[in-house]
Structure formats: C-alpha cells, structure tokens
Amino acid sequence: MELLKKYPKLFQWLFLLAVFFALCFAIDVPETYKFIRGQAEFVKDPNQSAFVFLGKEVRYYAFDVFWRLPPLLGWLPIWINDSLFFLMNDWMPMEFWNEDTQEYKTRPLVLQITRNLTAFMTFLIELIREILLGGLETIVAFTSWDWIDANPWAELPGLPWTIVAAGSAILAYKLGGKGLALYALLSMTYISIFGQWKPSMQTLSFILVAAPLSFIFGLGLGVAAYKSKRVEKALYPILLVMQTMPQYAVLVPALVLFGVGDHAAVIITMIVAVPPMILLTLLGLRAVPPEVIEAGRMSGCSNWQLMSKVLIPTARRDILIGVNQVIMVCFSMAVISAFIGAKGLGFNLLLALNQLNIGLALEAGLCISLIAILLDKMSLAWANKQVDYFGNLNFFQRNKNSLFFGVIVIVGILLAYFGSIYFKDGYNYLFEVPHNKGISTADFWNKGVDWIFDTFFVYIKAFNTWLIVDVLQPMRALYLRMPAVATLVLVVGAGYLIGGVRSALVVCGLTLFIALSPWWDRALVTTYMATFGVLVSCTIGFTVGTLCFQNKHSTNFMLNVCDIFQTFPSFVYLIPVMMLFGITDTSVLIAVIVYATIPATRYTIEGLRSVPAGLHDAATMSGVTKFQRLFKIEFPLAFPHMMLGLNQTIVFALFMVIIGAFIGTEDLGQYILKALSDKKGAGIGLTLGICVAFIGLIFDNLIRTWVGQRKKHLGID
C-alpha cells in the first residue's frame, strides 16, 4: 500500500500492461487467419465477406472483432478514387479556348486548372533546363512548331559545362568566399568528367524551380498563419499530417491530378516541402521579441516594412532551417519522383538500383549529394551576406564578378568551339561530356562490392541469417500476434495515463482509423520495423551523442557530420546497405538505423547543451563526479529535448521503412509502391499514406504531451 501511494503512476502503468497481456492471451488466433501476402485483398477469396457501400463492393475477412477489426473503412480508398475521377472528368465542364486546334473545347474545370498549372511548371523547368543544356521547347512556347520548322537556327544552344562550372564557382565566391568557390568548382568538374552532366543539370533545373517556389509558398503561408489565427487553425491539421506522411504516398493522388513528368514532380515536391517551411516560419516569427517589433513600429515601419525588414530577418535562423529542409526535401523528391517520370539523376539512381549496379548508383547518388550540399551552403551564405558601405569602389571593383563571368563565357565558348574542331569525329568534351563517355568508377565499385561479398560472404550471410531468424522474425511474429483490441487498449491506456482524456481520445481515433482500414496487418509490420530501427538508432544516437558531448571539439564535429548526413537524399542511404546485404529486410533496417540515428544524435547533443551552465557549475561545486553529474543533472534536464529527438527519430524511421519498400518489404510501403503502378491506386495510396502518418502521429502526440508536462514540471520552457 505504501508503495502504491508513493508511485501511483508506476502501478497504473503496470495495471495497463497486465490488462494488455491478459487480452493477448485471452484472445486466440482464429483458425482462418493467415498473414495476407501479395494482393490477396483484391482477389476474391471464399473466406471473405462483402458489404456494399455507395454502390461499391467492399470485401473483408470476417474475423472475430477482438482479433482483427472488420475493415469498415474499406470503402474510403474507393470513394477517394471515384471522387477524384469525378472531379477530374465530369465536374463543372466548361468551354475553354484551345491554342493548338484553334477552337473551343469542353473540359472539366479541375482538369483545365491542373493542366494549366502543369503547363506553367513545364515551361519554368524547360526554360532553366534549356539554358543549361539547350533545346527547343522554350522557343516553341513563345512561337509555334511551324515557326521552328521555318527557322531551323532558332534553338537555345545550351551552355558548355566549363561556363556553368566556372559560373557557379564565381557565384559561390561572391556569396561565401574562397572555400565555397573551390567546393563549387570541384564538384561541378567532378560531375562533368564523370559523365553525369546531363542528368545532373536536369535535376538541377528541377530543383531550381521546386525549391524557390516551395520557399515562397511556405514563407507566404507561414506569414499568413502568423497574422491570422483562423488561417493557422485551418492549416494546422494539414501540417500535422504532412509532417509524418511518407513522401511516396503523395505521389499517387498527384499522379491522377497532374499526370506524369517533371511538372507533376515539382507540384508534389511543393506539397511535401511547403509544410515544414510553414511550420518553421511560424516558429521563427513567434520567437521575435516583442520589443524588436515595437522598435520597428516606432521607427515608422508600415506593415509591409515591418514584415519584410524586421520580422522575417529577425526570424531568419528558423527560416534558414526551413530553407535547408526545403532543399533536403527537394533532393529526396528529385529521386522519388523518378517513379512518376521525372528525368535526371534520380531516374539513373533508381535504374541502377533496380539493376543492382551499385557502382552506377553510387555515382549518381554522389552527384545528388554534391549538388545538395552546394545549394544548401550557398543559400546559407546568401542569407548571411553583408554589405560594405564604405568600400568606395570604382566601377571595375564593383562589377568584377560580373566582368569575370563575362570573360568566362567568352573563353568557354571559344573552348567549346576549339573543341568542336579538335574532337572532329565523336563528342565535344569541352561542351558536354556524354553520359557513357566520362570516367566511370562504377566497375571499380562493383568489383569492390563483389570482392567484399565473396570475401565476407560467410560472415555477412551468418549475420544476416541470425538477425532475421533470431531477432526479426520473432519480433514480427510477436507484433502480429497482438489482437487488435489489446493493441487499442494499450495505446488508449497510454494516452490516458500520459495526457488524460483528451490525449486518449486523439490516439484512439488515430488507431481506430488504422484498425478499421483493410491494412492493419501491414501497419503492424511497418510498426515492427520502425520500432526495431528506432530502438537501435536511439541506443546508438544517445550513446554517441553523450560521448561526443564530453568534448567541445567532438561536439561540433558531430553536429557537422549530422548536418552533412542530413543533406543526403534518403534514397542514397539504400546504396551502401544494398552493397553489403543485398535485397533483404536487413538492408532496409540498416538504412533505417543509419538514417534515423542522425536526429537521435543531434537532439541528444543539443539537449545536453541546453542544460544551463549555472547548474553545471553548481553541480560541480557540490562535488559530483562526472558520472553523477551526467545522470543526476544533465540527463534529467536534457530528457525533454532528447524525447523530441525520439519523435524525429520515429518520423525518420517511418520514412525510411516506407522507402525500403523499394528493396522489398511486406508492409504498408509495399502497397504504396504497388498503388503507383495501379490505375486506380490514388485512393489506396492516399489512405495508406494517412495510415503511416497516423502511426507517426500516435507517437508524436504521446511524446509531445509527455514532454510538455515534463518541461512544466522541471520549470524549463
């Protein structure tokens, strides 16, 4: 009784666990139950029952409701699909003037809007692409194909790679000085001589459209949400779901709306990249001290000046993190959108991965990462740039960069011209190194992989088998053995114990959505993989973070490493693990672990750093040892921040698990990938995406609520 009074929470938790396990043992596995493989859901099975909703037949397995809930939400994907098709094909038909055929045509409104939007995006992308690589489309957009036929000279010639490389170096120099310029020059030259020029420029043109558009929209909506509570309230649920929604899942419905190609990829990228930008803008603007705003007002700022000259610059730290996120998302989307026909490095990467040509994949992945880091650093340098008012420069000094660029252009053209004479038959290497003519290290890597595989095959295989047989499969079986009702009780109970009725209701709703969808089993598999990844990531991340924190240099070093790793698009992580472990669950999980360890490490370090120095000194003066200080002072105080890291780790892990479907997993991701190639996949893809997002949100809600209380308890905020 004494104990019960002393630790009431502990006993509540124990009671919850007891109920959970009791339910698990009380509810037997039904005889007809088997894990559904492949597309069994869509094949008629005599064990299935059916009900009709909105005129559609929804099929499900009639299990005992305690074991698995009936998929009452089975109609949702179908309904979404039908609505989308109705919207696109039948809703509000209107007369539109058609340029090509010179006549009025009846088209549904939404279709017309999306087509116009995509045409605009296509124009932007082609414009940049053709400046870099040459082509006709832009000129066609202003004239017509007939005109082009009549004037065969009219074609954008494209820039020789020498000019682009030197130009980016000059721009980098202007923004960030010598170091950045050198980096820009080296990476551009690397890209060129390794024969990745064309796909790289295609990807770059895609990014140069998607990233600024995402930035502008994100900033604009963030400002709108800051100014109006109503806008914020309307945006909030979308932002929340989008934060944990796997990028894949957005692809499918967008495919229906915007079709296939780069333009659709840009729009999808915006859908994914805008929400974090909005959140960070809002966060930054909220954190501007009120006195700074008053100072702006007293300086006589109009509302517009206050926003553009005071609020946004003062909030620039968070906004820059937003820019970094936007760039990151753009690059990872650059790869993912290859699934819907975007050209560029992503396409090559996917192709190479598909052919198991690790060397080629590695080269493409490296190029993506190089460009990603370059753009990230350049945007950062741009934001921190300073003006010198007392330079007293003459014309030459002021314009030296532009002048220098002019010289470069002339030299580049001359070089390309000489090149065309020198390399008479074959390719002009001074204009563009073609894809298969560059230096390639692919063979070297492939041989290396083969060698590693041959040499260590026994060990890798043994490790792989051990992991799968002794760890993963039992864990998976355990997860699948949980009756739905028991899981629901566990989650809702946890919600109640942590955040009271409100939290319990929220997580109950989220869990029920997944349980009532037809994919509960798949969701369990996703959760099991994510759980495993998160457990290992956190162990590594917290340990590494704590160790690095002991020394100032290693702290900074580790944070930098995290920065760089974070800039890699998520797909790149699949390359090295596939080198070693081939196509197995192990590969996916290791990629998950590597990817998710980044936030775990970062937040551990930042959490420990946020412990006030005064407390640190106070503890030292009370004569604690290093370990005592760590465990009694620093960990408890850093814990809330570290838990937010756990939150991020979960989101990262879920993302990677879903992407892992590309290697081959039996979870929600597999179905999302399938939905991509399914004509009627839009509804399924979106519903699956929401399921994944909800898994993330359940943890998100629990952790955030708990962290909030903990922070209040500790008096830090």
């Binding site: 006195e291 008053e294 100072a295 007293m298 300086s299 006589g300 610059p313 003062t314 008012y389």
Partner: protein
C-alpha cells in the same frame, strides 16, 4: 504658455475581453479589484498630465505599476481604452495608420530596455534603419548614421553586430537609432535597467550631456528612484496604474503626497538631491556673513561651508543678486530632521 508637447486627459488602459464596456459602465470610477473579478486587468488608471517642450518627465514605478503601458499608450504601440492623448495638439487616437506612421517617422524616437536591436544588421545599419524606412537614400542615411555613431561614441565599431557588443554599447546603438531621425519627442523605456551599476551611472551622465545639447521633450520610464531624482525635471510616481504624485524631485522628497511615495523618499540622501533653492528662506536682513552660495548648488557641496559659519548665509543667483538666505539650522534640519518624525 505655449501648447504642451504631450497632453494626456484621463487615459485608461484596461486589458481583457470586455474592457471597453466595463470602462463605460464604471463611469470614470475604475476600481482595479472589481475589474479583476470580471477578468479585466487595469494597466493605466485615469492618467492626466502634460509635458511641455524640452522637459524631461520621468515616470517611476515598480514592475506592474503600469508605467510601460502608459508609455505604450502615448506612443500608440497599444491603443488606450479611454481618454484623450494629444501630441503637439494632434489627437493621437484619431490618427489613421498613415498619419501615425508619419508621426513616428518624424517626431518620435524610442529606446527599449532590452535594446531591441535588429540582430541581422550591423551597428551602422541599425542606426540607419529608421532613415531607410523613411525612404532616404542609402548614402545619405549611412552618412547621417555615421554622425550618430560619433555622437554616442561608438566610432570604430560601426561594422560590429549587436551580439559582439557589451550591454552598454548596445544601448548606445539603441539611443543613436532613436535619435537618427532627429525626433522632437523621445521615449525611453527603462533604458539603463539592464546595465551594470557602473555602466548605468556612466550612461546616465552621457544621457544628461546629450539632453543638454539636444533639448528634446522626454518621457523616461524607470523603476529606480535614484535614477529618477538624478535625471528628472518632474517625476510621476505610479502604483497600480494610478499616478500617485507628479511633481519636481525636490517637492516629492520634501512633501511626499502619499504613504507609498514617502516610503521611496525615506532612504534618499537629501543632501545629494536637494538644491539650495529648494530649501532656502526668504531674504533676511539679519547679519549675514561674507560667504555666499549659489542657489543651484546641491546641498552636499556647500553644507560644510554653511555649517562652519554660525550665521545665516546669503543665497545668490547666477548674476550675483541675492535671492534668499539659508542658515545652518535649516541645513541640519533638512538633512537629518524630516526623517526622525517618520519613525
């Protein structure tokens, strides 16, 4: 007398959802307690005063007394709930947004407790900021800002960022920024409260030097009574949103109006605050010694001189005319007397 630069007529600021309705119902009789029970907090309660050209009014009060709120009403950073405020005869509360911006761009400058510098701009850019907002050419605004940098003694640091400066230096930037547009009215919201005592004293002296040169109309907010005595032409002491007393420093020290004000004056070293003219008597034709003291001297500086005399001493003005007299007993009474009665 010419028009006062700032004029407040029963200004109220009440926070809360039904503030305006409640104020109307209260009919000029605002009681903080009943308001609080109804979910409203009274920030400023019936403040009426005038500040004339070139005068420095110091508003003194502890935290939560409504002094900053009062200042924000007068600069219209918040809108007053009731009452009228006139700036050089213009009805402040009736200005539209454009007129208000115009007023701030040309007539007002403000200094903040936490400096409120823009972190992304250098010292020079911060100071030039109000000028650039006004639309002045970059070159002119930078030159003007450079003058300001020199005025506050930050030459050589104009390209530093705020984060690279000490607190005192940052506040110099804040002061320079508020003066860049050459405003007539200068608001200072606890400008020296975040500084170390030594720096604070230095900045106060600097501030007095500036004011002597510039002769602005000033509203200065502080929670430090000594600072108020040192700087003010007149002091307004606030408590719970009400101005308890508004008078010259000498009168406040000598004749505190309420118990609350008296508590502040208790610890004040009078000889350091009061001037001879504050305590001198009428001209007498008694036997006065040869020694004469100026009426603008602080008592402390001349006390010894007077006390070693055993006679009444003549008080003179700047032109050497005798304007009053003072005897040693009066000095002793002023310095040690009043206090005894209070215990």
């Amino acid at each position: 007398m010419s028009e006062p630069v700032i004029k407040c007529q029963s200004v109220y600021k009440i926070f809360g959802a039904n503030a305006e309705r409640m104020l109307k119902e209260a009919n000029g009789n605002v009681d903080a307690k009943t308001f609080q029970e109804n979910g409203c907090i009274v920030g400023v309660n019936n403040a009426s005063f005038e500040v004339s050209k070139g005068e420095m009014l110091v508003v003194m009060g502890l935290s939560g007394s409504g002094k900053s709120t009062l200042l924000r009403c007068i600069s219209r950073l918040t809108d007053a709930t009731g009452g009228k405020i006139f700036i050089e005869g213009q009805d402040l509360l009736n200005l539209n947004n454009k007129e208000l911006i115009d007023l701030r761009r040309n007539k007002m400058g403000m200094v903040f407790q936490s400096f409120a510098l823009l972190p992304h701009k250098t010292v020079l850019e911060n100071i030039a900021f109000p000028l650039q907002i006004k639309g002045i050419k970059t070159e002119d605004s930078i030159n003007k800002a450079m003058d300001m940098v020199k005025l506050v003694g930050l030459d050589g640091r104009e390209n530093y960022f705020p984060r690279e400066l000490s607190g005192g230096q940052q506040q110099r930037v804040g002061i320079a920024r508020s003066l860049a547009v050459e405003p007539d009215i200068w608001f200072l919201d606890e400008p020296f409260s975040a500084l170390d005592p030594l720096i604070r004293k230095e900045m106060q002296d600097e501030f007095l030097r500036l004011q002597e040169k510039l002769q602005k109309t000033i509203m200065f907010i502080t929670h430090d009574f000594d600072e108020a005595l040192k700087l003010a032409d007149r002091i307004a002491i606030m408590k719970d949103g009400i101005i308890e007393q508004l008078d010259t420093p000498a009168n406040i020290v000598l004749n505190p109006a309420t118990e609350y004000v008296r508590k502040f004056t208790e610890e004040v070293p009078r000889e350091k605050v009061l001037l001879i003219k504050d305590v001198m008597d009428e001209i007498t034709y008694d036997d006065m010694g040869d020694i004469k003291v100026s009426k603008d001297e602080i008592i402390e500086n001349v006390a010894e001189k007077i006390l070693t005399q055993e006679k009444t001493v003549a008080v003179i003005d700047g032109k050497n005319n005798i304007v009053g007299s003072i005897n040693p007993a009066k000095i002793i009474n002023t310095v040690f007397g009043g206090r005894k009665n209070n215990h």
